[in-house]
């Protein structure tokens, strides 16, 4: 059976999800064999390779935007979910508090430390093994059935130390009130965490660029006043976002379908500029036309590129 030609409205229905006042329409994909009589939607890697393309819009160290063109939402969503929940990263799992006389309670400080994003040499992070989690019961002792835990070794645990004491600064001006000038170490930042290589780790995380360190050195962990001390040892392990959000490598990852703007009739003259300003820059393009052309219907200036109609 020869495939029937696809009508423009049918093509539109297949391509565009309707977000209406009270309903959402055309949400499910219909590009499956047998769904449209006479059409072949069988999976073909060659066809996919031909139709699929990637466009990069932005690639900053902490922010990237790109288009995956010709990919079904089910696959794009899988990539998004994998980014959030299934890519392993390093995070602090255990904090041993030797001394903490700051106003931040031990457990609150430990929770904050856990959320600090850590980085290090990629090869080193890949070399690091997973460590089975230790679940403590109420008494703080490891539970009997957690014997599967292989214990902390240099292949599965990264040790960091945080040792800092606040003191009075020397040579303070009379009447000084700025804590930054009055005290030394009044703020504890993520940069104060020191990587303590164990065993072979100094080879996997070489100085100076490869060491395990916080992604952002300026995260404020606690505030101190003279005489207060924080002395901690931290064990960081590899984990995935599905277990705890602190292991997620992304702040968030989202995908969206692009919106469409349909211009029902040509917009001419002053109106065109006003119309373009109603949108983000670059969404609506303007095109110079002659008076003669403006009288024509279906002139080249009416050709839109899907999302943008020019004038």
């Amino acid at each position: 059976m020869a495939p029937e030609p696809i009508s423009p409205e049918d093509a539109r229905r297949r391509k565009i999800v309707g977000v209406n006042a009270e309903t959402v329409t055309n949400v499910t994909s219909t590009d499956f064999p047998g769904h449209h009589p006479g059409e072949d939607h069988t999976w073909s890697l060659e066809k996919f390779t031909q139709n699929f393309s990637v466009q990069y819009h932005k690639n900053h160290p902490h922010d990237a935007v790109f288009s995956l063109i010709g990919l079904d939402a089910s696959i794009a969503n899988a990539f998004r979910r994998i980014l959030i929940a299934e890519i392993p990263t390093l995070a602090i799992e255990q904090v041993f508090v030797h001394n903490n006389t700051s106003i931040v309670h031990d457990e609150v400080l430990a929770a904050r430390l856990g959320l600090v994003p850590l980085t290090g040499k990629l090869e080193g992070l890949n070399w690091l093994k997973f460590r089975k989690k230790i679940i403590n019961d109420d008494t703080g002792d490891a539970r009997e059935d957690e014997k599967r835990d292989d214990g902390a070794t240099d292949t599965n645990t990264v040790v960091l130390k945080l040792q800092i004491e606040c003191k009075w600064a020397e040579g303070i001006r009379e009447g000084e009130t700025d804590p930054e000038k009055l005290y030394v170490n009044s703020n504890v930042y993520a940069r104060h965490m020191v990587f303590e290589p164990q065993g072979n780790q100094h080879k996997q995380f070489p100085e100076p660029d490869g060491i395990v360190r916080p992604v952002n050195p300026d995260i404020l962990l606690a505030k101190l006043r003279p005489g207060q001390v924080v002395d901690l040892e931290m064990f960081a392990i590899k984990g995935i976002g599905a277990d705890h959000a602190k292991f997620s490598p992304v702040a968030t990852a989202t995908y969206r379908l692009l919106p469409t703007i349909d211009i029902m009739s040509p917009i001419l003259g002053n109106d065109a500029g006003i119309f373009a300003r109603c949108f983000t820059k670059g969404v609506i393009g303007l095109e110079d036309i002659t008076e003669e052309e403006s009288g024509m219907v279906g002139g080249s200036w009416r050709e839109g590129r899907g999302r943008r109609r020019r004038l």
């Binding site: 069988t42 699929f52 393309s53 990637v54 690639n59 089910s74 899988a78 979910r81």
Partner: protein
């Protein structure tokens, strides 16, 4: 096959003991790759079966369902997560005569891997090109 399925059903009061939790459901964030993680649910035939995946969710479920539905020999494919607090995902496959659900499932995995390879390749190429353009 309603009769075959009925044979596998038990009234609740004499249902067999639930299997002891083997601890492989990944609830501690751990998946052992050597564990058997796919199970065929009772009532399966060559052309119609449900598979239970341990520690899988919508990430694999929906993507795999899409790929299996792209196979013209498959009559129906769907997935569900029967209970939110159990890390289990079920996939139902029904095929036309002349093939088996096992082939369909395997083809689904292969196609999905092929797709991911193409995406990785094109993505890496485009990203590197974009980065070098930005630097220039």
């Amino acid at each position: 096959m309603p009769t075959a399925i009925a044979d596998e059903d038990y009234p609740m009061h004499n249902a067999p003991e639930a299997e002891a939790n083997t601890g492989i459901s990944g609830e501690d964030g751990f998946i052992d790759l050597n564990d058997q993680r796919i199970r065929v649910l009772p009532g399966a035939s060559e052309t119609a079966a449900s598979f239970e995946f341990e520690s899988e969710d919508h990430t694999l479920g929906n993507a795999l369902r899409y790929m299996i539905m792209k196979n013209p020999e498959v009559e129906l494919c769907g997935y569900s997560i029967p209970h939110p607090s159990e890390a289990k995902m079920n996939i139902r496959i029904q095929t036309y005569e002349g093939t088996t659900v096992y082939d369909a499932l395997e083809k689904g995995f292969d196609d999905l891997m092929g797709l991911c390879d193409v995406v990785t390749e094109k993505f890496t190429a485009t990203r590197d090109e974009f980065n070098s353009k930005q630097k220039a």
